[in-house]
Symmetry: D2
Subunit: 382 residues, 4 copies
Amino acid sequence: MSHRVRIGMVGGGQGAFIGAVHRIALRMDDQFALVAGCFGRDPENTRKTGEELGIDPARCYDTWEQMIDQESRLPVADRIEAVSIVTPNHMHHRPATAALKAGFHVICDKPLCISMEEALDLQKITNETGKTFALTHNYSASPMVREARERVTSGKIGTVRKVYVEYLQGWLSEKLEESGQKQADWRTDPTRSGPVGALGDIGTHAHQLLEFITGDRLTSLYAILDTFVEGRALDDDDMILFKMSEGATGTLCSSQVCYGRENGLKIRIFGTRGALEWDQEHPNDLKVTEEDGAVKIIRTATSAAGEASASLTRTPAGHPEGYLEAFANIYHAFANQVRGKNSSLELPFPGIEDGLRGIQFINAALESNKENCWVDVSEGDN
Amino acid sequence: MSHRVRIGMVGGGQGAFIGAVHRIALRMDDQFALVAGCFGRDPENTRKTGEELGIDPARCYDTWEQMIDQESRLPVADRIEAVSIVTPNHMHHRPATAALKAGFHVICDKPLCISMEEALDLQKITNETGKTFALTHNYSASPMVREARERVTSGKIGTVRKVYVEYLQGWLSEKLEESGQKQADWRTDPTRSGPVGALGDIGTHAHQLLEFITGDRLTSLYAILDTFVEGRALDDDDMILFKMSEGATGTLCSSQVCYGRENGLKIRIFGTRGALEWDQEHPNDLKVTEEDGAVKIIRTATSAAGEASASLTRTPAGHPEGYLEAFANIYHAFANQVRGKNSSLELPFPGIEDGLRGIQFINAALESNKENCWVDVSEGDN
Amino acid sequence: MSHRVRIGMVGGGQGAFIGAVHRIALRMDDQFALVAGCFGRDPENTRKTGEELGIDPARCYDTWEQMIDQESRLPVADRIEAVSIVTPNHMHHRPATAALKAGFHVICDKPLCISMEEALDLQKITNETGKTFALTHNYSASPMVREARERVTSGKIGTVRKVYVEYLQGWLSEKLEESGQKQADWRTDPTRSGPVGALGDIGTHAHQLLEFITGDRLTSLYAILDTFVEGRALDDDDMILFKMSEGATGTLCSSQVCYGRENGLKIRIFGTRGALEWDQEHPNDLKVTEEDGAVKIIRTATSAAGEASASLTRTPAGHPEGYLEAFANIYHAFANQVRGKNSSLELPFPGIEDGLRGIQFINAALESNKENCWVDVSEGDN
Amino acid sequence: MSHRVRIGMVGGGQGAFIGAVHRIALRMDDQFALVAGCFGRDPENTRKTGEELGIDPARCYDTWEQMIDQESRLPVADRIEAVSIVTPNHMHHRPATAALKAGFHVICDKPLCISMEEALDLQKITNETGKTFALTHNYSASPMVREARERVTSGKIGTVRKVYVEYLQGWLSEKLEESGQKQADWRTDPTRSGPVGALGDIGTHAHQLLEFITGDRLTSLYAILDTFVEGRALDDDDMILFKMSEGATGTLCSSQVCYGRENGLKIRIFGTRGALEWDQEHPNDLKVTEEDGAVKIIRTATSAAGEASASLTRTPAGHPEGYLEAFANIYHAFANQVRGKNSSLELPFPGIEDGLRGIQFINAALESNKENCWVDVSEGDN
């Protein structure tokens, strides 16, 4: 087989949500060996997590600095090749830059980081080191999202006019952070989440998805960032109007106070000759409107779906794949990239540019909300 | 039986769409006798339409002025009691005011008229004459909309936080007005449609629906009115952010260039304890989220639906009613009102206030779009 | 206009369900004048119903025999031309045959009657008199059913292999007839409903729908007729396996004890090159599988739907029509037939042959259930 | 951690479908180490597959007999503890019995085997050896199936009256086996598939699902097994009527010639007080009818779902899990059982009894089809 990529993890100790997801994703296609980790600030948690995962105790490190330092000293054939970063947002930039500088490839949870300075620095270091940097915008690796992208970018729906994208959740409808719930706790804390709440946590997914599928850029926006739950320090509800470079306009809504909504990431795109709709809660369905105006449901792994999506599935039509499989697609493509071969998944996985775009998007929204005006989403070094 | 209300119609000659709808609606429950009409500017069309409808040729009038004048001279027991106005927007105000002044009740298509001056004048005359004025915001008479209103206004979903309402169509994706298609023709012509296109035609339905269901007022808004089809004189796409008097916020999108969309009026309301969703293309389903967070589908005429909706249906559960039946509910309630008895439908049908609200909404959106700022939706005489 | 067909009604007095439906259906397109009636066995009910409907008291008859007799004596230009029969099943044959013999056209609720003798007699008299006989299998007049029929009979899905049709309701899950509920009362009473319960009430709809859409005949069947509610005299649940003349096979299930189900008539047809699915509770959607295997949703009145369905709708795409409109399509076509012109609806409405087929189907199912074997559904005079 | 269970695989070489699924399932939760295998009859395939999987070449065996023999000779701490059998149906019994006798636990694909003799023998040996035998009826490990089972067996829908279960596919609509397609090839070949085609391949899933959810037994049936594709040696379409021990009745349809259908396993259960519906193509939704008659959608991992389903998910609400995750649930529970601890998943995974039930079901259907009569599904040693 292709050798399993040796990887170390920063974050994801017992009690975390996304760390476990990353580990399932890296196991799914058997492309990795998780051989090292610093799973949290508490060495005891790291030790227990490492034991649970069957990792050599000698490679369960008290700090991520230690991990990077000591792994670097191991023989090339033994040391990790890549680092997976699954910590809260404020703790992405430092381990990522350190890992890159030490010669490791990096796969990092989103959003990229918590400031433009960090983002530009990461971009610079990624480019200088030439290492692979992957950002786990997992939805972009869902087969039907890829099918959507193929259809839009190849002109099947004509010129895009309207995009409605939303990411609605309800789990922060009450002040869950007061209960000590770990996910709510850091996501509503500016010191760990950064200057935005819902916008960074889920709005950036919506933004990345719309640019990924359309292959176009959101160039300016008008944003209202709101906080509905009293005493919460960050936005829990966002409404954004936007314009894209080729003339399309649309709305982007992200909210965590939509009672009862689970994980409602949904995008609808209308062009001059057709339309598309995708809803991540039913990810195997892509609703396509072709020129006759009727809605056709293209399903994962069917012959009605194209090559692009087929390569991202593991099972025949009618065997639903979901969130974890899309996540695993990112990891699989990352492994291929790390091993220096063209990805058998042929996935242009989201990387440092997507991360930078996300921070540009967040910053523009923050400025728009503050200044109450339309703001350009810069492409450059603002 | 209760006597059939004698009614005359202005507009709705051969080739029109909405006139035929009004006539089916007034026939459905056998509450009216259509005994007079001026069905268009062309007397020949009126004559033919009248013949088709079996109306006494003597009561098929060349002009609506004639109809009002001559009907007024007939014996009380013979003359019409009410006038139905189904002309393009610019031709609502004059026949409506004339009819009211002549002592007739009025039922009129939406939007109410094409300017604030007309709207305030109509309000004044309606109040002065004490006649009944109904506006056919038909969606508000759909049983499940009534069920939604009951649930929201009685507090079942707690305090409303978010409202997403949209009305998306695709039929004007191309320049249909150039083909001579009658519906497209007047709707995109400022002299007949008024200062707005999609916003008046469908955006006002969305606005009325959200205020009707929530029992709350949209107090300020930020609007972008766009025209996607080159050379079109009026907006064919609108995006609006809004705030309501009790603190809720939301988006209202109306568009006629969403390729393939038929008649997509859809509203979602999220409160502090529950949520609701209604889609007029599947009008017999109300999706309700109760405190357990699960979506429950309340269906027309079932025991899970309340009294309010039950009175608006004609058939048992599972026998789908739709657009025409909701329209007929408005007419039925109007008949009851005209006959001076409490409506057996107990429907607070939309009237002059809803019409005025619609014009206030349109004007605020026009100003916001022009000035690029948030604008209050006045309650008063602006 | 074409003159309104003068019609008299048998049954449908206050408290009845289907009578009111027939009256809405005959009003919908303004093709009829309801000028006479015997609305029940109780003359007082007939008098009140007639008054409610604005019918001349002189033409509200104490018995249906009187109605037929006395109407026959009126001048041709005044007397009724047709009779609508909306009584329980056992009271179809006698008024229908009398009406036909008196020279009136007949439109009758389903099932046709309660025995083969009655059915054959009705067929014979219909043929002898040359009058029009319509049977209100309303679902066959739903636009998307017509679209389905066009597609299947023109070969678009290839040769039909499998048909799954079901009609599931839950309203008789408990012994509702004991509460005095009128609909439950007669439907579970062999003296009025005939030898079958659910099978006649709803199973015949399913049977007619499958033969109507496929244009093929159910030739043999194996049936289990069950009664789940203790003490009920007729079947409330049926399961049938069947074979069709061209080789297709399938299942037909009708039940009135499926808790919570409203009016679940649903058919799925699979051919060698495509498939179709229609659900009467969402009648504006026809799910079509074309050769690429994807499901496409063809919607009423869209350009993706063909001519046949377009002629059966009153409103543009996206304006839902339902049960009452389909019913009205039957009445409209009946009116055209009565007036002797080709139907503008071009609807081959269900008639005496469909009625006879229904009785043959019932009889075959009864025999199969009794003999525990497959039984041919005769075409002839069995 | 709990040690990873050492497992060897029989079957599943390059080109196979279900072998890859089993391997993903065993990797998902990191409960296994796949350390040995005989992946096919061709040693070269085994060698390549083993290399791809990173298995020690010394433990890639030319025959399964070798694997069982040589693994038995390894030190206890090294040798495999369990065998996974993913071969065609005719090749289950021999390796399974050999593995059990050698002291290995077994997890085997369904159906159990191809004859009653084999089934009873397997049951006997399983009981004698006291080893764990799991059968991968994966659908029974889907969280919402577990939720359904809890609800039905705890009486939430009252007494079950009706069950409609179906498993419809379309992939064998044409004679795919002639193209050399590997999956079609063996499934339509009696020497490898056994005496039934669709019935064994998918009908047994439907049967197991209905017994699993209801906790009741299918006691008698009437079956029609058909072959629609000319020249095919086994059934590709089945229709079964059945009765259950507590009085419920229903239909079970399995077909592989339903054009366009992917993997349509769907079950509907109606009780005296409620109902349930589950569709494996949308596995995260359980449609529940409670006493008010409305359909409520219970979703995986939400608070509206109970404990039983929660333990079978890996991600929060709204993150769709699917086919592979359900499969992994079986493997996870098997691992727990092998390690001798109570399953943290508390999953009563399907085992030898389910396998035997499946063969009893197949045999009864074969007899019914041949004799054209109802046949009891024996509980005993028929």
